[in-house]
C-alpha cells in the first residue's frame, strides 16, 4: 500500500537568526527553545518550504555545495528529524504517493 509523502514544513513561528559567518540560531518564541545550526543547516532550513521532500532538499544541497559527503542524505534526514522533534518544523501530508 502506498504511504502519503511526508513533506517538511517550517513552523511559521520559528525565527532564523543568522549571527556570525552564516552560522545561525533557530528560535521558537513560544517555547523559548533554541538550536544552533551551521551554514549547511541554514541552507537546509531555507529549502524547507512545505513543497520539497527530503530527496529534493538533498538535491538542493548537492547543487549548492561542491563537497557533499556520501552520507549527506542520512545526515540531512537526521537533521530534519531533530528539527521536527524540537518543534521547529512539522510535516505536511500532501497525498502524493511514494
Amino acid at each position: 500500500m502506498n504511504k502519503p509523502k511526508k513533506t517538511p514544513i517550517q513552523n511559521p513561528l520559528t525565527v532564523l537568526r543568522v549571527e556570525f559567518d552564516d552560522w545561525a540560531i533557530l528560535f521558537d518564541p513560544d517555547s523559548a527553545k533554541t538550536m544552533g545550526i551551521n551554514p549547511t543547516g541554514v541552507a537546509v532550513w531555507k529549502l524547507i518550504d512545505g513543497r520539497k521532500g527530503i530527496e529534493d532538499i538533498v538535491k538542493g544541497i548537492k547543487e549548492k555545495f561542491s563537497d557533499v559527503s556520501i552520507s549527506a542524505e542520512k545526515e540531512i534526514s537526521d537533521f530534519i528529524d531533530v528539527l521536527y522533534k524540537n518543534g521547529f518544523i512539522g510535516y505536511s501530508l500532501n497525498g502524493e504517493t511514494q
Partner: protein, 375 residues
Amino acid sequence: MTNLSALEMATLPKIMRSPRTVHLEISSKCNLRCLYCYYFDNPAVDYTNLPTEQWLQFFVELGSMAVMDVSLGGGEPFLRPDLTDLIEGIIQNKMRFSIISNGSLIDDHIAEYIAGTRRCNYVQVSIDGASPEVHDSCRGKGSFVKAVRGIRTLQRHDVPVVARVTLHHHNVHDMANVASFLLDELGLSVFSTNSAGYLGACRKNAGEVLLTKEDRQMAMDDLLNLSQKYTGRITALAGPLYEAKCWREMEVARLNHNPAFSKGGHLTACGCPFGEISVRADGMIIPCSMLAHMVLGRINRDSLQEVWLNNPELNRLRMRQKIPLNEFEFCRGCDYMLYCTGNCPGAAFTLTGDVNLPSPDACLRKFLAEGGNIP
C-alpha cells in the same frame, strides 16, 4: 564623531549581525522615588514617553532583525496604560519579553494577561529587605507590602518571577533574612544582587545610601556564605557578590603566578555592546542604561541595523577591549593586572568622565590598600 580608520575596522572584534536582546525603557515615569535610583536625575536624559504607535513601529524592525528578547523597564513599566498593546506588538513580531518592575502595580488582571502570552521570560521585582522597615528605608513607605503582593500575584498566575536585591547602607546587615525570605518563604527559584552605585539620583544621596568600606566587606562575606548555602540561587553580574567571586579567582591566580585570564589585562568589561543595545524612553538608542548620555541614533528615524553594525561610537566602545590596562597610571605595577578586566564602562564614565578608563570603584588593589580583605 569620526568614523573608525580602516585599521581599526580590520581589528574590530566580531559582532553579531543584530543584537539578541534589546532593553527598552518604555516608561520615563515611576510611582516610587528610591534614594539610590540610577535612572532619574540624569541631566543627559529627556524624561518623555514615546506614544504607543512609535514603539509598535519599532517592534516591526526588531522582528525583522530577528531580535529574540526585549526587556521592558524604565521607570516603572506597569505605569503605562498601553502595556498590553505593547506586549501584543512584541508577540506579533516573534519575540519574548521580560519586565523590570518595583512590583507595586501588579494585579491579577495584568498577571493573568502576562501568563496567557506564554512569552514572558520573567518579571523581576526589586526587593531590598525582609521587612517593611528595611525595604522601605530607601524605596518609600508602603512599598514592601505592595512589592510582595505583586510577587505573590505573579506566582498565583504561574508567571516566572525573580527578585533583584540592591545592597545599600541600610540593608547590608539584612542579607541572611532577605535570602531566607525570598528563597524559603516566597519560594523564588533565584534572586540577583547588585549594590547602589554613584549614578542618577544616588549622587545626591550618596553619603546616606552607598556602601561604606565596612559595609562592602560585610556584604561580600555574607553573600558569599549565603551563595554557598543556597547553591546556584543567588547570582550577581556586578556588586559585592560578583566582586567577591572575581577577586578570589584573581588572588588564586596571582599566588600561583598563573598566565593572564582570557579577558584579563585589557578593558574587556563588559560584553554587552556585542549582544545587546538599549533604547531610552524618548526613543534615543544608547549602548546601555549606564551610558544614557551616549546617543547612537533615534528609533524609527535611524536604522537600528545600521546603528548596530556601523555606528562609530558604538564600535569605539567595542574597541575598548583592545586597550591594555598597563597604559593607565592607575593600573601600573598592579599584581592583579593580568586577571583584571577594568570593570564596568558605565561606572568608569560616571566616576571619571571617561568611558575608556578602568572603573576605580571596582579595583581590587585599591580595595586592599584601603584595608579590605578578600573573602
